[in-house]
């Protein structure tokens, strides 16, 4: 009997071994792997991983995340905007800012600014020499520059954004100095009268007075000089552009980077006063193509503002301007084309000092001080025949050697030992008709406004131009400055509004 009991006590350990949970039959499905972990743990790990993926996907679809079932291209412009501004240079952003300023009620108008190049690598605004002057011969130009100078002197009142750094335009009020020879003295005196009448603070200096004031200047051949005492000088165009942009974006302007590749417009012909019919068209959609992509978004719009600068002519052609039958209003193109201008930075340690104005010689060469390290910016507008190729912005240093330097060194002897440290080139939005801005509505395309063709003085007039265009759009007519002389119809009637002081 004892042997039977002993037998039982012997079997009990084997029973306990059999009942050991680590050797339960379920586990026999998961033998140990080479690394020592059981396969069942990888099953649970897989399960955990899948559950984790599901949880992550569900969390992404919760409100507050930006997952959408339909993939949207980032940076696409809105499908509808009231006013589309083509071209995001300083004039375009100025118009956007003034439109928002005059809208009277928050969200009154929906403004979209479309800019082709987010780096502004070829934009005329940022490649400009940045000067501002009131010494024009057209009263409208003087008024525009005066108003703009006033705007820029109080820039933080206008473009200051709460909680952001104040705007610093680095406006050097050093004035412009125009030099005239015997031939040009008469014209300079007439211009002086026009400028003083319009309110510019300009003074005429005789040859001796010029020598007194600027002893570093060689006054051979200078009969008369016109010097701006106030509101003239130069500033940083990039700061102005960014100030307008920041303020406009804070007021709710939409910005889109893309290229305008076409307009969809409807046209119908209506009889005008003497019986014949004209085809009036109205732009309904602006096709904006995304950068580096074939995708485009048709933006439905009420008004289009063409401030595309050097490409304004091409943008206008997309709307059919200039493509009509010969000798009709529809055949008059927007005569704005890019013209390349070189700007050279020269260094001369013994050059003229802090009081250097923006000097413009009667031969066309110009020069101004840049910074405090003895650097100067100089350039010359080439003749019509030697206009450089506008396909790229490569700088021709020979132009400096052959054309700019002799004239410059003659006028400022200290520059005989000047060295060119760098140079850049930029486009003028050159109005081939009369080199003055085109401002206003097109007579046949009923909702396209222009603010382009300023041929080198667009930057300095941009705040006032923006205000004028905003008044045109929202108030119906010019309120503060009457710029109807700069309208489109002068191109049709072949009545150029010439500026005698083109630099």
């Amino acid at each position: 009997m004892w042997s039977a009991w002993r037998g039982i006590t012997e079997t009990i350990p084997s029973l306990t071994i059999r009942l050991d949970p680590s050797r339960l039959s379920a586990l026999s499905r998961f033998p140990r792997t080479a690394s020592g972990t059981r396969a069942y743990s990888s099953f649970f790990q897989d399960l955990e991983a899948q559950l984790e993926a599901m949880r992550r996907k569900a969390a992404k679809a919760m409100p507050g995340s930006d997952w959408t079932p339909v993939e949207l291209t980032p940076g696409l412009p809105p499908e509808h905007a009231d006013i589309v501004i083509v071209g995001g240079g300083v004039v375009g952003w100025s118009v956007a800012y003034w439109l928002k300023k005059k809208e009277r009620i928050r969200g009154g108008v929906r403004v979209l600014v479309v800019e082709k190049d987010p780096t502004y690598s070829q934009a005329s605004t940022v490649l400009s020499a940045g000067g501002i002057r009131q010494q024009f011969s057209l009263p409208e130009n003087v008024h525009l520059s005066l108003a703009s100078a006033d705007f820029m002197r109080n820039i933080n009142e206008h473009l200051g954004v709460l909680n952001e750094d104040p705007v610093d335009l680095q406006f050097n009020h050093s004035g412009y100095l125009f030099l005239a020879s015997e031939k040009g003295a008469g014209v300079m005196e007439e211009n002086y009268k026009i400028q003083r009448d319009a309110g510019a603070k300009v003074t005429l200096l005789s040859q001796t007075k010029v020598k007194e004031k600027f002893p570093w200047l060689n006054t051979d051949g200078v009969a008369l000089a016109s010097y701006g005492l106030e509101n003239e000088g130069w500033f940083d165009p990039w700061s102005l552009l960014n100030a307008f942009r920041r303020k406009a974006l804070s007021m709710g302007v939409y910005q889109c980077f893309g290229e305008v590749t076409g307009f969809r417009y409807s046209s119908h012909s209506m009889p005008i006063n003497d019986g014949d019919r004209r085809a009036f068209s109205r732009i309904r959609f602006v096709n904006v193509r995304m950068p580096n992509s074939l995708e485009y978004q048709p933006v439905e719009c009420g008004i289009v503002v063409n401030t595309a600068g050097a490409s304004s002519g091409k943008v206008a052609e997309l709307a059919g301007i200039g493509l009509g039958p010969k000798d009709t209003l529809a055949a008059v193109p927007v005569p704005v084309e890019p013209r390349k201008r070189y700007v050279y930075v020269i260094n001369c340690p013994d050059g003229p000092g802090l009081d250097t104005p923006f000097m413009i010689d009667y031969s066309g060469v110009y020069c101004r001080r840049e910074g405090l390290g003895g650097n100067y910016i100089a350039g010359l507008s080439p003749e019509e025949e030697e206009e450089p190729d506008t396909r790229d912005l490569e700088v021709d240093y020979n132009f400096f050697q052959d054309r700019v330097w002799p004239l410059l060194a003659h006028r400022i002897p200290a520059f005989e030992c000047a060295k060119v440290t760098s140079a850049w080139a930029g486009y003028y939005d050159y109005n081939t008709f009369d080199q003055n801005g085109i401002l206003g509505l097109h007579p046949l395309v009923n909702n396209m406004y222009f603010a382009t063709g300023f041929s080198g003085h667009g930057l300095q007039q941009s705040p006032a131009v923006g205000r004028a265009l905003a008044e045109l759009i929202l108030d119906g007519s010019f309120r503060t400055l009457d710029l109807s002389a700069l309208g489109f119809m002068r191109l049709y009637h072949q009545q150029p509004v010439l500026e005698k002081n083109i630099v």
């Binding site: 009231d82 009620i105 119908h268 209506m270 309904r284 009420g302 909702n447 119906g476």
Partner: protein, 461 residues
């Protein structure tokens, strides 16, 4: 009843089989004939009872004006959509008209239903064609948001209604409106009865809309295409009012206390939405908020549960339906020409389209309830009945009338008077179709001035 329903259903084969050239003409004329036949319903055999030939569909003096408004609106919707839909492919045009017809069909069934569940099903069914019209043919990206708001506000409100109706069916045995008016007053003692009361009314209050749950309306009205805006403003809002008027006969003793906050919300909403109108930059949004304002008055009138309140509510519903739809059509004529609805950019139109100014003037005068237009009659009845309910409401309703007048005049002056911007000088002149549309909207209003008893409902006093 079938003489209207069968032609309406047959409009669908019409739209799909008619050759492209005759599509719009035929559908407009057929729907106009249906509208004219529907005028036969105005002959009531008994002053306050139902006239019906079967137990499922019947008309009574409450539903008849709304039914005729619905039938009248279909030709107007088709007229208004003709221009902006015609560039689309022909089958899409046919689908659009089919959706409008389906909506019409459901609305006729809803207004003439005798059974509350059938009314409920048709109430929900009208959401679908409207949603499709808003989200597919609306103009801007916000239309998806608008459709979502529209759908979910209405559905959230009407789910309690379904539960409440099922409870009612369990208690009463039948939900036929023909017999509901004769039920004994029920006893309501517990909290759940009060919640049941709220459940009955919530769907209709959302649909009206009551201020506070009105957010879907500006979105839906603004983003919808013109036919969608017209039918929303003219008829779909009135579904709520109609439902409220039908169901309040059962809710009786509770309503005296429980309606208090809703009447106050409605009256306050008149002033708030009226003030919002004065600050709107978008023309359609202005008209949408003015709809909320007028419907606030209607809600207050219905919840006072007096004969004058009900009468005022019905008159205001009919008159507002026609006038609001007219205003949307006018806004659409502007939009089709200039492609933007911003008030700042389409101003001074009187110089360019002087004949349209006449219609703008008449529609805005009707909107501000100029005597002797029926809008005024409705508003006066409701103001008097709320005054009877509490003297203090006169402050709110009086101020509301003042604000209504000011924003209607503001709308007129902003769009018609003032300096004309230079970019809208060469707009193409008004089409005869647009003049016809406006005439067809405003002529019934003028005719109702001479015989308002047609729209006084069964509380004929």
């Amino acid at each position: 009843m079938l003489k209207i329903l069968i032609p309406t259903l047959m409009l669908i084969p019409t739209t799909w089989l008619i050759p492209k050239k005759w599509l719009w003409t035929t559908t407009t004329s057929q729907s106009l004939i249906i509208a004219l036949i529907s005028l036969l319903w105005l002959k009531w055999d008994s002053e306050i009872g139902w006239s019906s030939s079967n137990i499922y569909l019947a008309t009574d003096p409450l539903s008849t004006p709304l039914l005729i408004l619905t039938c009248w609106l279909l030709p107007l919707m088709i007229l208004a959509s003709q221009n902006h839909i015609s560039p689309e492919p022909i089958n899409r045009q046919r689908s659009y008209i089919t959706l409008l017809i389906l909506l019409q069909f459901f609305l006729i069934l809803a207004f003439s239903a005798t059974e509350m569940i059938m009314f409920y099903i048709m109430f929900e069914a009208t959401l679908i064609p409207t949603l499709i019209i808003i989200t597919r043919w609306g103009n801007q990206t916000e239309r998806l948001n608008a459709g979502t708001y529209f759908l979910f506000y209405t559905l959230t409100g009407s789910l309690p209604l379904l539960v409440a109706l099922l409870l009612l069916q369990k208690d009463l045995g039948s939900l036929s409106m023909l017999t509901m008016q004769f039920t004994k007053p029920m006893t309501f003692i517990s909290w759940s009865d009060k919640i049941w009361w709220a459940g009955c009314l919530l769907a209709f209050l959302v649909k009206m809309p009551l201020y506070g749950i009105h957010l879907w309306l500006p979105k839906a009205h603004v983003e919808a295409p013109i036919a969608g805006s017209m039918v929303l403003a003219a008829v779909l809002l009135k579904l709520g009012g109609y439902g409220m008027m039908r169901i309040t006969s059962l809710l009786d003793p509770l309503t005296k206390e429980l309606s208090y906050p809703f009447i106050v919300m409605a009256l306050w909403g008149i002033i708030m939405t009226g003030s919002i109108c004065l600050r709107q930059t978008d023309l359609k949004s202005l008209i949408a908020y003015s709809s909320v304002s007028h419907m606030g008055l209607v809600v207050a009138g219905i919840l006072t549960q007096t004969p004058w309140g009900f009468t005022g509510a019905i008159i205001l519903m009919i008159a507002h339906g026609l006038v609001s739809s007219a205003l949307f059509c006018l806004a659409n004529t502007n939009y089709e020409r200039t492609h933007n609805r911003t008030l700042l950019l389409t101003r001074g139109m009187q110089i360019i389209l002087p004949l349209m100014t006449t219609w703008w003037f008449m529609a805005n005068l009707a909107n501000l309830a100029l005597p002797p237009i029926p809008n005024l009659m409705g508003e006066l009845f409701i103001i008097v009945s709320t005054f009877n309910w509490s003297y203090w409401t006169i402050l709110l309703t009086g101020l509301g009338t003042l604000i209504t007048a000011s924003y209607s005049l503001y709308m007129f002056l902003m769009t018609q008077r003032g300096p004309t911007p230079t970019h809208i000088i060469t707009l193409y002149p008004s089409h005869s179709r647009e003049h016809l549309l406006m005439a067809l909207h405003l002529l019934p209003i003028l005719m109702l001035m001479s015989k308002p008893e047609l729209v006084w409902g069964w509380c004929y006093c």
